[in-house]
Each structure stands twice: as structure tokens, then as C-alpha cells.
Symmetry: C2
Subunit: 285 residues, 2 copies
């Protein structure tokens, strides 16, 4: 695994004191939430609320997923200033972000979601490769990701997105917003390189239009989640040829797009149930 949750980073969680249902004082660990202001060249673009790790990947991935950075843009520097909580991404040529800033769309995540520009822009040309997906990979990935030490298991209230190849988790990002976790993966892909057509994106969050569009724009042909679907998310997945698998729990899953790419090699009777500690709920008990 190339990047996994860094539980030794003390900046990501904080001990907070409260009382529990018996009236007893409890100290619990909760995740941090910090502002990070992203600049593209001389232009301030947005202030993101983030857990605070991998600010450079977050900035580059955000700008890439908003199509403010194009695949052929040459990034000359990415500077994070911890004290003033900013990242400045500089490119060789001028970018056309002013136009994007005019049009705002609020997406359907758990926050006041806004993307700049037309959400569907560029999507009409996307045709993802028909990469096969073995069902044994899906079960193996779910088991590995759910049982791996993570900030989620430590502090709850956080989303995870994992870039995988076959049954191997490669890059595991967590953040208070799942959009941030996906953007960090996009930033990693843009800065560290690598192919997209052989990858699987695993997310703990719901398969909304936004998640489907981001994954498709990154060139990743498979998106899997333990959570559910929206109708528009499923529709876009079919349009761009993305394999969309949701409601993955224990032996179960539902595939709403790209079902012809599934290879049924798993012995379902041998699939382990989920350890109760690893069952994701709205938050950690």
C-alpha cells in the first residue's frame, strides 16, 4: 500500500472532554476540521474545510476535478503554508478559472455543496474502458478496507476513499468530506502519475451524481461503495460506461451499471461476515 491512514499524526484528531449517558466524564477523540484556502496562480478559488493532511494533493485534486486544471497543464509549484492555511498551485500557462467561477452548482452531498462550472461539462466525450471486475476483488477489498486501522475506527465522523487495483488497496485517503478524500486521490494521481483505466475507486459514501462524475472524469472505470445510490448517479454511470456497485455488505451487493464486466469468481459461501467493530454506521458508537 502506498498511502494509508496515518494514525500517528496528532494533528488529525483531538481529545475532547464530555459526559456520557451515565453522567460520567469521558474523554473521546474527535476529528479536526480546519480551513484551507486554495489559490490557483494569483486567484483565490475556495476555502475548504478539511481534516488537514495532504493539503497539496487536496488542492491539486480539487482544481483538477473542477477542471480548472487541465490534464496537459504543467504545474510549476505547489506551496503549502501551514501558518496561514493556504496552498498556492502555480501553472505554466494561464488558466480559464474566471469563467468557471461564474456558475455555481450545489451538489447533493451532506454539506452545502457547490461545484463551479457546468457539472456535466466534458462528460459527453468520456467513454471508460470495459475493464473486467472480479467479484472476489470486491469482497477482498471490502474486508481489507473495513478492518484496516483508520481515523474512522479511531474517531468516527469521517469518510474514506480508496484507490485500488484488482484486490489491492493502493491509496487510502480520509477526510471530513468525502469530496475532499476523492480530491486528494485525484491530486495524488495528477502529481504522482499512474494509469486510471485499471483502477477501482472504493468510497464509504453514497453514489451520488457528484461521485460518479468525479470518478468518470478521473478516467477510473469502476466505482464501489457500501452505501446506496441516487437515480441520477446510476443514469450517468450508464451513460459514460462506469461499472457502479453499491450496497456492498457481507455477501451482498447491487450492480446498477456495467454488470457485463463482472467476473463471478468468488465463492460466496466463503465470504466472511463483517466484524461488528468494522460495520460503518452514520458514526461510530
Amino acid at each position: 500500500m502506498l498511502i494509508q491512514p496515518d494514525l500517528s499524526n496528532q494533528r488529525l484528531t483531538r481529545a475532547v472532554r464530555g459526559i456520557d449517558h451515565t453522567g460520567k466524564v469521558q474523554e473521546i477523540r474527535v476529528v479536526e476540521e480546519r480551513p484551507l484556502t486554495i489559490y490557483l496562480n494569483a486567484q483565490e478559488i475556495v476555502t475548504a474545510m478539511t481534516i488537514g493532511d495532504y493539503p497539496e494533493y487536496l488542492a491539486v485534486g480539487y482544481l483538477r476535478n473542477q477542471r480548472m486544471l487541465l490534464p496537459d497543464d504543467i504545474i510549476t509549484s505547489v506551496d503549502f503554508d501551514e501558518e496561514v492555511e493556504t496552498v498556492v498551485v502555480r501553472t505554466e500557462r494561464k488558466t480559464d478559472y474566471e469563467e468557471k467561477l461564474k456558475k455555481k452548482t450545489r451538489t447533493s452531498g451532506c454539506a452545502v455543496g457547490t461545484v463551479f462550472g457546468d457539472m456535466m461539462e466534458g462528460l459527453e466525450d468520456v467513454r471508460l474502458p470495459a475493464t473486467p471486475v472480479k467479484t472476489s476483488w470486491l469482497y477482498s477489498l471490502t474486508h481489507q478496507i473495513n478492518t484496516m486501522p483508520s481515523l474512522y475506527l479511531e474517531a468516527g465522523a469521517i469518510h474514506g476513499s480508496v484507490l485500488c487495483r484488482e484486490d489491492i488497496p493502493l491509496v487510502y485517503m480520509e477526510d471530513v468530506g468525502r469530496h475532499n478524500a476523492v480530491d486528494k486521490i485525484a491530486g495524488w494521481m495528477m502529481l504522482e502519475g499512474g494509469t486510471a483505466g485499471d483502477k477501482i475507486m472504493y468510497t464509504t459514501g453514497r453514489l451520488t451524481s457528484e461521485m460518479v462524475i468525479k470518478t468518470a472524469m478521473m478516467g477510473i472505470p469502476t466505482l464501489a461503495s457500501r452505501s446506496g445510490f441516487t437515480a441520477w448517479g446510476a443514469e450517468i454511470a450508464r451513460q459514460v460506461g462506469l461499472t457502479l456497485i453499491g450496497r456492498m455488505r457481507g455477501k451482498r451487493f447491487i450492480c446498477l451499471s456495467g454488470e457485463d464486466r463482472l467476473e463471478w469468481d468468488a465463492d460466496v459461501t466463503a465470504v466472511r461476515g463483517e466484524p461488528s467493530k468494522a460495520v460503518r454506521k452514520g458514526g461510530k458508537p
Copy 2:
């Protein structure tokens, strides 16, 4: 109960065909996700992705929670046009939204979250009333809300927010984004009136800074959730005097702010466990 999930509204979910883990064709119901463009007078403000019910409440509540509408603004009309998917909110006096549109902050929900203006603006003057909260209300509300027929139980992948008084759920809103669900409640409060100081906001989502700020700005002194906390959410709750209760599961909860307002009247040994069907996870199995 004044408003509860309307399961007879066929516009909110759609039957979609896919295959399950055994390769069998399955038809499942999934929630809709539609664009809704909100105008304030002649100005286009934002396009929200929403499940599509209560567009008028969503528009008014969004504008109110962004402080583009002030408490003393007089709304002269709210017009929803289903065909072009727009809501136009008109006010007697001109509003200062242009200034707000300049500054964008991306919040930490599950989507690309953006609020306009300074998130903390107006918060320094907020001091919420020290309304007592009986622990029996918390258990009763959790049980009622989790077992009530809802789009969540029918189709998953949706958040709920419920405005309550004592142990009575009053207004239950659901949406693909929990920010929308809360905004619909804010819109209902602004248009239908009623006091805020005696209310409890229950949410299925995480207690991030955004949720705490919205609840406080609405004048509601108590915020409860089955999900977890962020550090900044807890910090703001203490600053404004909001009673903040999270990780509510079965007998358990954690209170990180306002613990002196809790009245310990519940017999914890009598608290029922949650029926497995009502246990909220990342999505519905």
C-alpha cells in the same frame, strides 16, 4: 406531527434495475436527485441538487441560512416553476447578496460544500437560551424517528433532519444532502413561524461546524445526532451555548457541550435497543 416523509410522492424515488451478488436481476428503489436553481429577486444565487420536495422551503431556508435573507426581510412571493426547476424568492427591500457571493467557503459535508460569506459572521452575538433537555426525550425521539416510515428506510442514501419540541417530532425533512434537509426546516420556520428557543434539532448526519453554526443561527439551543463530532463543531457549540449530543445509539450518547442542561429522568435500563431494520448505516443493506 406537522410534516413527515411523504412516501406516496412518486417523484421522490425511482425503480432502477440492476443485478445482485447472485447475478439475479433486481429492481430496487433509489432516491431522485434533481437540480433546483434558486433566485433572490433578479439574482441567480445557486443550483442545488435536491430530492425535489418542498422547493419553496428549501429556497427560503437556504437564503436565510446563508444570511442573504435577514430575519426582518419581508418576503413578498416565493414562486416555484417545476418545468424549469427554479424558485424565485422576492423581498420588499433590496438584499446585500452581491457581497456574500464574493467569498466562498467550502464546508466539510459529504460534497463539495460551499457557503457564501464568512461562515462565522453574526455568530459572535449568538447566545442561546439555557433550555433544559430531559434524557427521556432523547431516547423517545431517537426511537420514534428511527422507526417512522421514511424514504431512508425505503430507498436509503438520504439524510434526515427533524425539528422537535420536548419528545415530539414536529417537522421531518429528508434530502440527498443533510444541508438541504436543515435548510427546508429553516424555510419552514421562516414561512410558518413559531419559536426556536424551545426546539431540538435532530439530524442523522455528523455534527460538523456547518451543522452547529446553522442550528445556532436558527436560534435552536439543542442539536442531537446518532453520528459523531468534529473538534471545531464542539468548540463552536460551547462558544454559543448550544447543547450538543452525539453518538446516540441505544442507551448510549455523548454530550460535548451544555451538559449542565441535561435532566436525568430516563430509566436507562428500560431503554429499548434499536430494531436492526432501523439501524442507520452508510446506506441501507
